[in-house]
Symmetry: C2
Amino acid sequence: MSDSHRGWKDEVYGQVARVGKALASPRRLEILDLLGQEPKSVEELARELGASVANTSQHLRQLSTARLVRSHKRGTYVIYELASPAVAALTASVEDASEALLLELVALRQRGFGDPTDADPLPLDQLHALVACQAVYLIDVRPAAEYAARHLPGAVSVPLPMLAEHFRGWSSPMPVVAYCRGRYCLYARDAVRFLHQQGIRARRTEASVRDWPWEESATG
Amino acid sequence: MSDSHRGWKDEVYGQVARVGKALASPRRLEILDLLGQEPKSVEELARELGASVANTSQHLRQLSTARLVRSHKRGTYVIYELASPAVAALTASVEDASEALLLELVALRQRGFGDPTDADPLPLDQLHALVACQAVYLIDVRPAAEYAARHLPGAVSVPLPMLAEHFRGWSSPMPVVAYCRGRYCLYARDAVRFLHQQGIRARRTEASVRDWPWEESATG
DNA sequence: CAAGTATTCAAGTGAGTGCTATAATATTGC
DNA sequence: GCAATATTATAGCACTCACTTGAATACTTG
């Protein structure tokens, strides 16, 4: 009985495992998070990953055969992007589950944000409210291209290298809130540390373009 | 800049990849689906999988070190169970994503349910309504132990081997709806085929205990 | 058409994985 | 305590995977 279904089940779970295998490498997971920000070229991904171009290309090939990403050519570059929003939802699920199950991961993340000057992150719902009534100065500290692709409504683009220049002579009493790529990105942490050094009220949030309630292409 | 965060990112994504690796094997995915029904012993899982006990034990060990499952002893048996509801949600996410991304999987599933006598499955919301007003006879064709652990409200336990006996002399005009473990289980299909042969109005649903809106331990 | 550049292919290596078969380790029931 | 049984550990095999290196491909630009 159960035996007569064996072949079919093997095939079915074999297919699901194609997706599972794609999620089995740290590099590939990081690639998926990066592509969740914005489509990127192989070279750019390799630079972000600190990996060789050839190696990055191979990982992208695997993600591609598992249908998690797709590519098209733009000029001399091959631009990779997530195959669908379902992929961003999938990686979010895996990361959520990991945080729920692995104490090590929670500890590791606390270690990254453990400096006493790193205030608690601003929760998503509070951010929503504060931005709506313009009570905070929301900055997007990712590279400009990622801001251009998609950003939180009301946010100002201040890439990390521009931070000092942007806040030179800053005297507004309005508190600053910084966001970056999300949970596993330290840009916002670095920004907040710098602003604190300058005596500017600042806080980070773990919200990112992934979490924001998106109406299609509303890039306010 | 990005380089100074490298070590931390490697560790973080390494942790997430622990969960990813656990999802990278067809056998382990099937184990997670089976444990989503009910906690089971190694021996029982091995029988369901058509795998050796030793091999099953090894897979369970991997799932265990990734914290997706946990175990406790009952008599001479070691009973494995999902570590938390988050694991069931995770496997559901992976399967959802696979179905959204892999045409092969959709085709494969259609092949399993492609017989013209297999009517379209009853959607979850319709099932909810029909059960609420007692317009259908809902049968749970999984093994009795899984029914005992958890079942849809209003369902009657009719394990597949008991099907013929249960419906001998059946004359009610009420249509039968059969459910089993879910999307990748063929028990409900087999039950509906049999009932059709007997001239009984029957339909399957892909709803399962995983999909039902559960209030805690309401096993109506 | 030629040069330059972005990407992919191919081969090689060391580590890891899935499976089998066999032995070892409980733990229960007599 | 001894036999029976459920589970896990160990060793070995074929295979896959991640990464590196060096060459090949494809496309743009002059």
